[in-house]
């Protein structure tokens, strides 16, 4: 074929993705290495839209890792697994993209397509990644985690509280990353709130993440039914893709 998907860093990325991190320290390590590779991707290099997201994700995950070491969560086993499962879906999407597979989630594909340009502003790029990752990946990561821990997504449980604690991490880290753009950022996060109908309800990341929790509960109930599960997956993928494309459109640039 023509040029490999990842250009000059293709082999490095394939090699990195061949490994499947199984704990949170390994996830952080993986994201760090990925960041080093993404900023070397021509022509955009430092301003690669995916690197913008990856950087944000790395900061969030590192903070989660510190939280795990610091006894911040009630059920670290749950949160650690959720973190690994969550990241696995991002790495899966990258692998599908690397193989040019039609299975690449649409929610991610719209961001990956922009890797070679045209350039998008860092904020909407990162937001597009956050959108795909939270609105599409997170509900499934939750379901898989609960399934493997013989537990269930119950409101008010220790796990739910830990899950909501991540919102505080977003709140802590994002202002530092985007000082001065905070209001716009919050508006953006409002907009990427799951279903389009829910746009105007806005309550920051908390809201989006709560949509993910609700979606997880929905999938949980039909998880043994392959057809219903696939139907739910397609719905989430389509919704997230719609928002993602919007974020990366010229409209998204108003954020910055």
């Amino acid at each position: 074929m023509t040029e490999p998907v990842w250009g000059p860093v293709h082999q490095d990325i394939v090699g990195l993705l061949a490994d499947h991190p199984a704990d949170v320290p390994a996830v952080v390590d993986h994201l760090t290495k990925l960041q080093d590779l993404l900023v070397r991707l021509p022509p955009l290099e430092e301003s690669c839209p995916l690197a913008d997201f990856n950087k944000l994700y790395l900061v969030i995950t590192s903070t989660v890792l510190d939280g795990l070491y610091d006894d911040r969560f009630r059920d670290p086993a749950f949160l650690a697994r959720l973190d690994v499962e969550f990241a696995a879906r991002y790495f899966d999407a990258l692998r599908f993209w690397t193989d040019s597979s039609p299975s690449t989630p649409k929610a991610w594909a719209c961001l990956f397509k922009r890797m070679r340009g045209p350039d998008a502003r860092p904020l909407p790029s990162a937001a597009a990644g956050v959108n795909a990752h939270i609105n599409y990946d997170l509900p499934f990561a939750l379901v898989t985690t609960f399934d493997s821990l013989d537990s269930e997504p119950i409101d008010g449980s220790d796990q739910h509280r830990d899950y909501l604690e991540i919102n505080n991490i977003f709140a802590e880290r994002i202002p530092q990353l985007r000082r001065g753009y905070l209001d716009n950022w919050q508006l953006m996060i409002d907009m990427v709130n799951g279903d389009i109908d829910d746009w105007y309800q806005g309550e920051l990341v908390e809201y989006t993440r709560n949509v993910a929790w609700r979606n997880a509960q929905k999938i949980w109930r039909c998880r043994h039914d392959p057809e219903a599960r696939e139907c739910e997956r397609t719905r989430l993928d389509d919704n997230a893709a719609l928002l993602g494309r919007l974020l990366l459109s010229p409209l998204g640039a108003f954020l910055q």
Partner: protein
């Protein structure tokens, strides 16, 4: 015809074939297991590879079992395995194998629901497979694993962990598309792919060259460049698509159809009417569709049917095998799905259902329910769904049973459809409350707690539902299982407060509540509640289970509240009650609680081990060997390890594993055995057990992850792999619940030891962050253990002493001898020679490093050496030798070339009267020792002082030439008359 149904050669998969063959067969050493999971998108050639590899391995001498999972979402448990056996049965000529296969199939047919049935079934299946294999390596080939049922998944992990004692390899294919989203296999694969015995192979589409080669092979000549380009673009290297496109080109239909969908639509359109009907019938059926069934559904005369089938096969839409017909590919099914009108589809389902109902012999209820439901006849689907649920429960497949009961509930509320003749079927009389009750219980057993609770609410709303008190107890049980303690407690309290509840119900609630409070660490309240339960039980006949449960809660709460003697007395009384008036399970349960109490919070290890072994013998007599004997032996093994009787522990764990346990019981035994192997320095055996544990844990069981990581760290340190030890510990730190003080303390010690040794040996770069986190963990343990119960504090303090000492090593590079001395004394006090010997070694090392008190160091080294040697702790012994030789200290009277091999227990002597030398009083004392009584208890029984008992015991030890109560008990039991 042969030329029309020919298959294209397998192209571009030479490397993959070789990988599969070596992973599944060539590189597999006897007794090992191996697995390859093949993932890839539809049409990439998974099924083809499965069959090619299967053929090769069959030729190489393996026994190959081939099955496929079903996508009707509600197949019966273990379906693919049973299907594989039936297939093999059909093609098998050899009499011995055939009878083994029938024997195993019968195991499934005769299974009955019962306690721990699921584990026992796994064991029986493993044994059956062993017979079927008859010494040949066994290969299990499973297609469409994305639809696997939970029971089959558990069976696979059980066999791959080596617990079935079977040389087996598994080759399974999974559609990559299905793994997106929240598939339960995702997590399993993430865990499995880290193991050496497992490979996950992602089967990619063909590259350009291979696609060209395939097309050329189909067409018979290389394609012109333009056509080859087009084919490559359209197929994207998908071999199924490429082959079919090339075939159309060869047959002159090129260009008509652009996509594979169009290719197959064209072919379906080209079929004559009878063949058309055949293809649609198979698409609606559950594959494989047997010939007789197809005949009844399409209603063609035999000759015409055969012609029609031949036609469909020739058009590459259908394939036939001994067990029936299947569509050629999943993609064909997708094409056909949109081709039928709903009414046509329903009519076909009805015909299938009618034919299956009329057929003699075994009814496949799940399949029947599926067809009736899709035929739009809920009333007729309902009894089949209920039968399928019972069938699933019989095979312990509660997840499947739950789905069938739920389906039955839905069916019961659906209005009956109008029949083709215009009439309505008779409504089936079902007891909705009964359905709800079954559904709730099945949901509870399969871990669907929220669903179980919802169903229970619906049941409560039914008029004919169970009485209020029974509902409260059941709700509490479900809530407790879901980890929702507060509402569970409320439910129990409602029963206790309600005047409508019977004394038995109140007694049950009190006992269960006591147990719940104990788990919540509310010891005083647990004790109070347990006393209430015991008081209630006094007036309730047949409440032995409640007595045992409440006594255990009381015993533990007393132990935690620092009145160990009282706790022990309570538990002993409970055992008496169980023996007098309880069932076998009550006796077993009482023994287990007693042994746990003694080896756990009371820390009277030797007596606890004796009780555990006595209990194991007793429950084996009662016929509960598989479950309860295994558990009791696990307690004995861990106790023996801690008191330093490793050879004995090894024997006990081997005996326990002979029961081929499964689930959490198996994991605990494997961990216990691995702990011994790590101590012995047997890298290979430790590795094998850690792999087996990880395999089992891939299916769930988070609470065993940390013990596994701790052992991994311990093993890595003996191998000088401090990087791996660090990795395991850091992972452990991120996944440990901070209230589990003992685990955290053990983990922190392993981490600090690894860091200290890495720094001393300069094996890896120091990591200040890792050390900082370990310090923080130590602080946390110190803080939290101050608030924990005395027994927890006692154990944690031992590890904290080790941590402090390791930290001193990290701080100044030499270590503080005073801290190591303190650690050694702490562990001496706990009767735990292994860490005590280790601490002495480090104390000596620290002294030598300061060049002070060299004589003391020599003495310490000799002590440590003697302890380590009597344990059989090879790596520790070796390290002591190294340090000793550096300091020119002789630790061994006659230094041998290598550390002694692990000691084996002496063979049992002849059954002469070994007790001849004992006085009558000593025999009395020994009998009590062999019951697992403590000196104080023996004193109370024989009305002499505890101190006198101590003197008797030491005389007994001298005369029998033993050093421990366990050994003395063994001699006593051996010499017992009868």
């Amino acid at each position: 015809m042969a030329s029309e149904v020919d298959t294209a050669p397998l192209v571009g998969r030479t490397g993959t074939m070789a990988t599969l063959r070596s992973a599944l067969y060539d590189d597999l050493r006897p007794g090992q297991t191996g697995a390859v999971f093949l993932t890839g998108e539809s049409g990439v050639g998974k099924t083809r590879l499965l069959s090619e590899v299967g053929d090769q391995l069959r030729q190489a001498g393996a026994l190959v079992l081939t099955g496929a999972c079903l996508d009707i979402g509600d197949a019966s448990p273990l379906h693919p395995v049973r299907q594989a056996l039936r297939r093999l049965d059909a093609e098998q000529g050899e009499a011995r194998t055939a009878s083994a296969i029938r024997g195993l199939l019968q195991v499934f047919d005769e299974e009955t629901p019962g306690p721990d049935g699921a584990g026992a079934l796994l064991e029986r299946v493993a044994q059956g497979l062993h017979l079927v294999a008859g010494g040949r390596p066994l290969v299990l080939v499973l297609d469409d694993l994305q639809w696997v049922d939970r029971s089959t998944r558990q069976l696979l992990l059980y066999l791959l962990a080596g617990l079935g004692d079977l040389q087996l390899s598994v080759l399974a294919a999974i559609r990559a598309e299905s793994l997106r989203g929240a598939h339960p296999l995702r997590r399993v694969l993430t865990e499995l792919r880290r193991l050496r015995s497992v490979q996950v192979v992602d089967l990619l589409p063909l590259d350009r060259a291979a696609t060209d080669e395939l097309a050329a092979a189909v067409v018979g000549a290389p394609l012109p460049p333009e056509a080859a380009d087009q084919l490559w673009r359209r197929s994207g290297g998908n071999p199924f698509v490429a082959e079919e496109l090339a075939r159309d080109r060869r047959d002159g239909r090129d260009g008509i159809s652009d996509t594979v969908r169009e290719v197959f639509l064209d072919r379906v359109d080209a079929l004559p009417q009878p063949a058309h009907a055949v293809v649609h019938a198979v698409a609606v059926g559950v594959e494989p569709v047997e010939h007789w069934l197809l005949a009844q559904v399409v209603r063609l005369p035999e000759e015409e049917l055969l012609d029609a089938v031949r036609e469909a096969v020739a058009h590459r839409l259908l394939v036939g095998a001994d067990d029936g017909y299947r569509l050629r590919h999943r993609l064909v099914a997708e094409v056909l799905a949109s081709e039928l009108l709903p009414a046509e589809r329903a009519a076909l389902h009805r015909r299938f259902a009618e034919a299956l109902t009329a057929a003699p012999g075994e009814l496949h209820q799940a399949r029947l329910a599926h067809h009736w439901r899709h035929a739009g006849e809920p009333a007729r689907a309902l009894p089949a769904a209920m039968a399928a649920a019972r069938e699933a429960e019989r095979l312990h497949g509660y997840a499947e049973a739950h789905r069938h009961w739920s389906a039955a509930l839905t069916l019961a509320t659906e209005p009956p459809a109008v029949l083709p003749d215009g009439g309505r079927p008779e409504p089936v009389e079902v007891d909705r409350a009964e359905l709800l009750s079954h559904a709730a219980e099945a949901a509870h057993h399969s871990g669907e707690h929220a669903r179980a609770l919802t169903l229970l609410e619906e049941l409560a709303a039914e008029e004919s539902g169970p009485p209020v008190c029974a509902l409260h107890i059941r709700r509490a049980r479900y809530l407790a299982a879901a980890g929702r303690s507060a509402p569970a407690e409320e439910e129990y309290r409602r029963v206790l407060a309600s005047p409508d509840c019977t004394p038995h119900e109140r007694c049950t609630a009190a006992a269960r509540l006591a147990e719940l409070l104990l788990h919540l660490g509310r010891y005083a309240e647990a004790g109070e509640q347990a006393r209430e339960a015991l008081a209630l039980a006094a007036d309730v006949p047949g409440s032995t289970s409640e007595v045992v449960m409440a006594s255990a809660a009381l015993g533990f709460s007393e132990a935690f509240l620092e009145d160990p003697a009282a706790g022990l007395a309570v538990m002993r009384r409970a055992l008496d009650t169980a023996e007098r008036s309880g069932g076998p399970e009550d006796v077993a349960c009482a023994y287990l609680h007693l042994a746990d109490l003694m080896t756990g919070p009371l820390n009277i290890l030797e007596e606890g081990v004796v009780v555990a072994r006595r209990g194991a013998e007793r429950v084996a007599e009662l016929g509960l060997g598989r479950t309860w004997e295994t558990r009791l032996l696990a307690v004995a093994t861990n106790g023996l390890f801690r008191v330093g009787q490793w050879a004995e522990a090894e024997k006990v764990v081997a005996a326990a594993l002979r029961h081929r346990p499964s689930g959490a019981d198996a994991v605990e035994l494997l961990l216990a055995r691995c702990r011994l192997s790590v101590g012995y320095g047997d890298v290979e055996a430790s590795d094998r057990d850690l792999e087996a544990v990880a395999t089992m844990l891939a299916g769930g069981g988070a609470r065993h992850v940390l013990p596994m990581l701790i052992l991994r760290a311990g093993l890595s340190m003996w191998q000088g792999r401090h990087d791996l030890a660090r990795q395991a510990v850091q992972r452990g730190l991120t996944e440990s619940r901070s209230d589990d003080v003992i685990v955290l303390a053990t983990l922190a010690w392993h981490g600090l030891r690894a860091e200290a040794e890495a720094a001393a040996g300069r094996t890896i770069e120091p990591d200040p962050n890792a050390v900082r986190r370990l310090r923080e963990a130590v602080d946390r343990v110190t803080r939290k253990s101050a608030r924990a119960g005395a027994p927890v504090r006692y154990v944690a303090d031992g590890f904290l002493a080790l941590c402090d000492a390791e930290l001193s090593r990290l701080d100044d590079g030499r270590g503080d001898p005073a801290l190591w001395e303190r650690s050694a004394l702490e562990w001496d006090r706990r009767n735990h020679p292994y860490p005590a010997a280790y601490s002495r070694l480090r104390q000596a090392e620290a002294l030598l490093g300061r060049r002070s008190r060299v004589a003391t160091a020599g003495k310490l080294l000799r002590q440590a050496y003697e302890m380590a040697q009597s344990l059989g702790a090879v790596p520790l012994t070796a390290e002591i030798r190294t340090i000793a030789s550096r300091a020119r200290v002789t630790v061994d009277a006659a230094p041998g070339p290598a550390p002694v091999p692990r000691p084996r227990a002496a063979p049992a002597g002849p059954a002469v009267d070994e007790l001849a030398t004992l006085t009558a009083r000593e025999r009395e004392v020994l009998a009590a020792v062999a019951e697992g009584l403590t000196n104080r208890e023996i004193g109370q029984r024989l009305f002499i002082s505890e101190r006198t008992i101590g003197v008797h015991v030491s005389h007994i030890f001298d005369k029998l030439q033993v050093r421990t109560r366990v050994q003395a008990s063994a001699i006593f039991l051996r010499s017992r008359p009868g």
